[in-house]
């Protein structure tokens, strides 16, 4: 595959352990993300099974809390973030005309920290007293004084995850700033490169804050400090401010790369340039900057002063403007295009529609007085799953289907791709839409059992979840078939440089699959 280059990958396990190649590391990230998705998904299935009907049938409340906590942590830190770093690794060098990432050894290390971090995190489930059971937001003092002893391992795992993210972000910034092909100005970079550039700065800004939060927890637990202990003069609300100063930008860290992927795909399948590129770039930057000014909208009910409530209400509402601009731009890109609807496009369109639903409910929550009714109910659960599942996760699927032919040189089975899309689409909506209703009707989140009037919608939600979960096996079948085709060297389904009809961009000037060191000589930019 790379006979015309001075060397290819090493063989055997050492290829993966010692690799400094951006594509190998990208693959590692993506496979790791997939394994974590199935682990976190299995936990979600257990949660939905328990919530299928009122009463406690399968698990004890304490274990249920461990499941909701671990499901959230694994999906956010183990699935979505590593998946997008995998995309960054594969795509950034190819999209800016570089041979590899700027800091290849660092790249290896940023990935290999993850398996250690998650082994530690998941092993807490088997420790005495059980794993983290205080929610993925780990509010103190439930996560300090009242936490199981395993919380120390959880803190260590979060430190490792943060380290991995920071190293990855440094690498991405260094790559984009230094390795662009001559002539590729910042305002000529593809949208995916832009969104990751901005995301990487957000990561650098907020991951240290998360590290600070867990370090204060560690001090409170083991070294007698009282950062979050009211009895010692500390402040439990401080924890929430620190956590959400990380936590809110975090949701944009998760969604911006998906915005980037969708911004590549919609023009391709509309066969028309992206509408409003400049405003897209500015909107992304505006979202990132504003994301650091809205954190306390997660805390409208903690008893902030009125001025605080109003400030965070207004800033949160303002974020709807740049987000709306993006949605309008995507639709204007489709307008008067010449559209086809292959799996990447289907996932992208579903992304635009369903992410907007999450956006609308987000706007409703920005209205502080109304949020007093929504806060900590299933309405919130529905909201953030709409932005994270048909948002971030559909972005991952869209990107995989879009670039898989480039990565492997083989087209996936489109019929199965369509099947996967429709099952996922129906399953996700069946799971999460009814949660709006039970939330408004008064069902709190993070409860293992609920009052009888919530039973019907919860049963529907559980059925939807099982459909959603099992349909992901179709995705595995698609992947396995593509990889088998590639391994056997079968020529049926092989694709050329331009795997899709309407594609633009440097990655599509390389053969499929691309050579081991993407661009050994810089391409020329028009």
């Amino acid at each position: 595959m790379s006979a015309d280059h001075h060397h290819g990958p090493a063989s055997g396990i050492t290829r993966w352990l010692f690799t400094t190649n951006h594509k190998d590391i990208g693959t590692l990230y993506l496979f790791f993300a997939m394994m974590m998705a199935f682990l976190g998904g299995a936990m979600a299935m257990l949660i939905r099974a328990e919530l299928f009907e009122p009463g406690l049938q399968l698990v004890e409340p304490n274990f249920f809390n461990q499941m909701t906590t671990m499901h959230g942590l694994i999906m956010v830190f183990g699935f979505v973030m590593p998946a997008f770093v995998g995309f960054a690794n594969w795509q950034l060098p190819m999209m800016i005309g570089a041979p590899d990432m700027a800091l290849p050894r660092l790249n290896n290390w940023s990935f290999w920290i993850l398996p250690f971090a998650f082994s530690i995190l998941v092993s807490t489930l088997f420790m005495e007293g059980g794993g983290p059971n205080f929610g993925w937001t780990f509010y103190a003092p439930l996560s300090t004084t009242y936490a199981p002893p395993s919380v120390t391992y959880f803190i260590f795992a979060v430190h490792l995850l943060g380290m991995s993210s920071i190293l990855g972000a440094i690498n991405i910034i260094a790559t984009i700033m230094n390795l662009r092909a001559p002539g590729m100005d910042y305002m000529k970079m593809p949208m995916f490169v832009w969104t990751w550039f901005i995301t990487a700065f957000l990561l650098l800004l907020v991951m240290p804050v998360l590290a600070g939060a867990v370090t204060m927890m560690l001090m409170d637990i083991h070294f007698g400090t009282s950062f979050f202990q009211a009895a010692g003069g500390g402040d439990p609300v401080l924890f929430q401010h620190v956590f959400w100063f990380f936590g809110h930008p975090e949701v944009y860290i998760i969604i911006l790369p998906a915005f980037g992927i969708v911004s590549q795909i919609i023009p391709t399948f509309s066969r028309k340039p992206l509408f409003g590129y400049t405003s897209m770039v500015y909107a992304t930057a505006a979202i990132a900057i504003m994301s650091t000014l809205v954190w306390a909208h997660h805390m409208f009910t903690v008893g902030m002063p009125l001025v605080g409530e109003l400030f965070f209400m207004y800033t949160t509402m303002l974020i709807a403007v740049p987000t709306g601009v993006k949605i309008f731009n995507w639709i204007s890109t489709m307008w008067r295009g010449s559209m086809t609807f292959e799996a990447p496009m289907l996932f992208s369109i579903a992304f635009v529609v369903l992410f907007s639903i999450g956006g609308f409910s987000g706007l409703m929550m920005a209205i502080a007085p109304a949020d007093f009714q929504y806060h900590d109910t299933y309405f919130i659960v529905a909201h953030f799953h709409y932005v994270l599942v048909p948002g971030a996760v559909f972005g991952v699927f869209a990107g995989v289907y879009y670039w898989l032919p480039k990565w492997t040189g083989r087209m996936y089975d489109e019929r199965l791709g369509q099947l996967h899309f429709w099952l996922t689409f129906i399953g996700a909506n069946l799971t999460f839409f009814p949660q709006h209703f039970v939330g408004l009707a008064g069902m709190p989140r993070r409860i293992p059992d609920y009052a009888l009037q919530f039973a019907d919608f919860n049963a529907i939600s559980s059925v939807g979840a099982f459909l959603f979960g099992t349909s992901q096996l179709v995705f595995v079948v698609i992947l396995v078939r593509v990889l088998k085709d590639k391994a056997s060297g079968r020529l049926e389904g092989a694709v050329g440089e331009r795997a899709w009809e309407g594609v633009e961009g440097l990655e599509w000037t390389l053969p499929s699959p691309p050579p081991y060191h993407s661009f050994t000589t810089p391409p020329s930019i028009r």
Binding site: L56, I331, S332, W335, M364, A370, P444, I447
Partner: protein, 389 residues
């Protein structure tokens, strides 16, 4: 999950075929509790809940209009501008006037929302001129209500039996939403809630009042309500507070002002009777009987009804444990708690008679059989620092 499960699936599927018109169960007026298939927020029984509901619906309909417009353009484009219909792609890539226009329009819509929201917010935060003040304290996993200036205070525990939760008995009408002692407030009165917590975070929520306020150790938050109609209103804790977070309901009984005064009188009489207990001596069986009840309500959620605890998290109480060690230490742990752990200071939560009974129970149940008897007066002496006799 067998029989009930099948019935739920059938109900769910058959209901899917019913047109889910929002009007069907919308704005349930004067409902005492949520209904099956309820789709929307309750209209509630307070002026605040009404304006919050109206605000919620205003934003909802604005979102619906925007969604119809945006999705409409998108679906039209998807239907018409497709390659299979021979559409030739245009090549435009921006339109500054359009982009400025929709940015401005979006901002205007936001102002239209922010204006009424600000007014409601200011009103919600005005807890001045209250006629009744109630201190609400969240504990793992119960609520304490203290009527300030009235010498009335009590705990409110879930009343749903374990048999119903674990499927050994049919689930009652207010499954998980019933308590032993509800909060009682009069209608037509401005009631202020001062909300705090004794251990971890909790959040006190009654949907029909549109009151939700976090209970935070070391902070006292404020909220208020003015109930229009008599009735029983139910809510739940809405901040994850540990193992039994899902099992600490809130029940508010809003009564007429006369009934409220009568109820207050009964509580005063009860408090006097409790004080009289201090000078009584109880025998083992009396103490054990009372102690078992106190234990079930306050201790069993962590240390379990069998006293087995949960290794690694909650210590066992049977055999060689604090419950069979020195009596003074045992009193100390129960009354003052163990700092840095989940063991709360029950001296602040229970009366002397209850403390005496539960300590006696722990020292004699599950084969502990120490034969130790603790009387209310012993507890009182310990609290005063006179030691144990």
């Amino acid at each position: 999950m067998t029989k009930i499960g099948m019935r739920t699936i059938v109900a769910a599927l058959s209901a899917l075929s019913i047109p889910l018109l929002p009007t069907a169960t919308l704005a349930a007026d004067g409902l005492e509790h949520a209904q099956r298939w309820q789709l929307n927020m309750p209209y509630g029984v307070t002026p605040t809940s009404h304006v919050v509901y109206d605000l919620h619906m205003l934003i909802f309909w604005i979102c619906v209009v925007v969604a119809v417009l945006v999705y409409g353009v998108m679906f039209y484009s998807m239907a018409v501008h497709r390659k299979s219909r021979g559409a030739k792609p245009a090549q435009f890539s921006h339109n500054t006037r359009l982009e400025v226009l929709w940015t401005a329009l979006a901002s205007l819509v936001l102002v239209a929302m922010a204006w009424p929201a600000t007014a409601v917010m200011i009103n919600m935060y005005d807890a001045s001129d209250s006629q009744i003040d109630i201190l609400v304290t969240g504990y793992q996993w119960k609520w304490k209500y203290e009527y300030l200036g009235e010498d009335v205070s009590f705990f409110s525990n879930i009343a749903t039996p374990d048999d119903e939760i674990y499927g050994d008995a049919p689930k009652g009408e207010h499954y998980l939403l019933n308590v032993d002692k509800p909060l009682v407030i009069p209608v037509g009165t401005k009631v202020r809630f001062l909300i705090t917590a004794a251990d971890v975070l909790h959040s006190w929520w009654v949907p029909d009042f549109a009151v939700k306020m976090d209970a935070i150790p070391g902070f006292v938050n404020e909220a208020w309500t003015w109930v229009e109609r008599e009735g029983v209103y139910r809510g739940q804790c809405t901040e994850l507070c540990g193992r039994l977070h899902g099992f600490m309901p809130i029940v508010v009984n809003a009564t007429s002002q006369n009934a409220y005064r009568r109820w207050l009188g009964e509580r005063h009489a009860e408090a006097a009777a409790e004080r009289a207990l201090l000078n009584q001596r109880m025998d083992l069986s009396q103490l054990m009987e009372r102690g078992k009840q106190v234990y079930q309500t306050n201790c069993a959620s962590c240390h379990l009804a069998t006293g087995a605890g949960l290794p690694g998290a909650f210590p066992a109480l049977h055999k060689d444990s604090a419950a069979t060690g020195a009596l003074a230490e045992h009193l100390g742990i129960v009354i003052n708690g163990t700092p840095g752990t989940a063991m709360a200071a029950f001296g602040a939560q229970l009366g002397a008679a209850d403390l005496a009974a539960v300590i006696t129970y722990e020292r004699n149940a599950w084969g502990n059989d120490t034969g130790d008897l603790v009387q209310p007066i012993d507890v009182e002496r310990y609290r005063r620092g006179d030691g144990v006799q």
